[in-house]
Amino acid sequence: MEANDRNNALVHANVERFEAALAAGRSRIDGPEPLDSLIIVLDGSGQDETTLAIVRELCLERTCMLVLTCGIQVGDPEAEDELVLGAQRALEADGLHAEVVLSGSAENHERIRSIRQEHRGAWLVMPSPFGHDYADLRAKSLGTAVEVTLTESEMPTILVRGPLGDVASEPLSRPHLIVRETSPATARAARVALAMLTHRGTIAGTLTVTFVYGGRPDPDVDDVVARGFGVDPQVLMPLLSHGLSGILHRLDVLSQMHLGLKLELRLVQPGGEAIDEDIEHGRLHILPRQGDRTHVDDSVQDFVLGCSDPVVVVPAVS
């Protein structure tokens, strides 16, 4: 009986290893997420200027197809169209051509959905209409264009949350990936982070990975975080049982291939002080989204959405 128990335990350990291989494979990071077209949604607020600044930065080194539309109902279709046409002229002044989709009769979120369906490989850039106090994405399911788009969109969505300061490129080159578990969304979020780091050509910059570690206290995990990346891939093995070693290992491999890429690993416990208060702002926070929920702890979400940095919400489906 003891021998059977021992063999059962060993079979189970192998089952877990192969399941981890399956999870890691489903979360493969082959390279940056393609960034060939952008759907730009404007709302007539002060954040439109920031939105256009991000678009200009993203299009600096590449040819992007741009589609402009309005995301807020101001009651006057002509005013909405003028808002969009004005943005088009501003972009053209910078040498960027943007297609315009005027308001028409459809609701904003329906029009955005239609544009999304037409441009499946695109990314969305849209201002958050709720300003800095927009604390919980899920609590605001009021049918607004942003809310509907965020919960059903299959594309990475950059939420513009406030002025970026003097240099729009700063947050884009300092992505901050927040992950909690291995999932296709997490892997895609990592690809989005790489896309941000490559938006000026080569992979360069610092990728900060915050691992929201919700398990029991585990000295092995602390040790991995203390040692960080790049010492020995073997050190990432303790994270295998937490489902992340595959993603972290692949990021590590990428960082070895691209010497300009620096990786920084942070560990936070969910709840309470989710993210160190000393984390610098001026970053692009990247949140994986599985189904209709973001893939991070509420308190992490509160932190990210309570700050003025832009946020990318990344769904699993590509």
């Binding site: 350990a13 399941e19 891939p233 990432l236």
Partner: protein, 454 residues
Amino acid sequence: MSETALQILFGGLMLATYAVIAFELLHKTVAALVGALAMTAAAIATGLVDSYTRVYDVLGHDLPILAVIIGTSILVELAGQSGLFHFVAIKIVKRTGGHPVRLFLALQLLVFVFAALLTIVPAMLIVSGLTLVISKSLRLSPTPYLLGIAFASNSGTLCTFASGMPTLMVGSAAKIPYGQFLVVSLPFALVSLVVCYCWTRYAFRDDLTAPKTDHERAELQATVEAFDEWALAPDLAAFSRAAIVLCLTIVGFAVAKPLGVGPDFVALVGGAAMLLFHGKHVEETVKKVNWVVILFFSGLFIIVGLVKETHALERLAGTLTSLTGDSVLANVATVTWFSGVASAIVDNIPVAATMIPMVPAMDGIPHEPLWWSLILGANLGGNATPIGSISCVIALHALAKEAGIQIGWGRFLAVGGVLMIVQLVLATLWIAAYVAFDLLPELPAGAPGEPTGH
């Protein structure tokens, strides 16, 4: 005490120990050690041996077997930690594209090769884990796959000197060179695998249906493609070192005889090299050597050695040959079927241990075919029943624990029992054909029952 009385006493104690093991009244290692100690005490009391230190002489003959087990255990454990076997397993499964029938074949081939290289237990532990995950992912019933690999692994144990415990025991006792396995038992192992595949494919035909549409095919392909083999091999250097040391050890087994060393030496060198080059977790690794099995073997060798001292096994062998006469075919059939059926009922290790001293005592018959018959019978007999071989036990427990599926004796016998009968018939014919066409290589001088060469 007369010789007959001694034979009855020690034979009875040995059978009592086997009964305790078969009915799991005690852990088999405890039973073997208690039996060995009781028989040592009886041997001293009856004057069969003059001192208890005689057991060291008895055990000394079998030390090479223990050395092979220790060396290969370390080798396999460290190579397993490197992710090498998991990597290979996933690579092969991905080649099937998730097609249920191809997967069925690939898993049987995989466990066959792993059993040949790693021995049956590590092979089953790895491949049954993969089978459970892949069948769940592809929404396939795990039963045909797990039973298929359990049967196929028993064929794998026939491949080489160190593939299975009975193979190792018989090979050591008969001093069969490694190369002879490649000539005699490896080809039969392949035949046995083909039979296993065809029969299980037929027996589980309702569960093994090909995808009907391109969409289904693509979905299965995408599922197996999702496996990331590199996720389990995070340290490329350790992975490469493990692969190199393992390959060199296999080559070492093949060239051991020309080099003038035994497979025990090669296994220990391989284990030590792996410890040296891996350089991590040495104490943990050494702890993972299956010391329970080594103690079990030690007890068993003492038990059989003391029974051998009474000449009971020679007498039994003489009785057998008087029944079967000097017909090689009859003796081959007797050894094959006796060891096969006995292995279906009790652990095949005690069966092999008991039969080994009997073969050299079977006078008037060439011993080579009998050794091979014992190897084939003891390894394949376990296919018949749920308790016949360790691979079947692992598969059935994995099914019950991980998938909640219970397989009754009747259902098992309908597949495994038939398979064993077919395989033993073929094994008998195989050895008979080798004898008829004079294809069996001669054993080296000095093997039990053979001239010493002096």
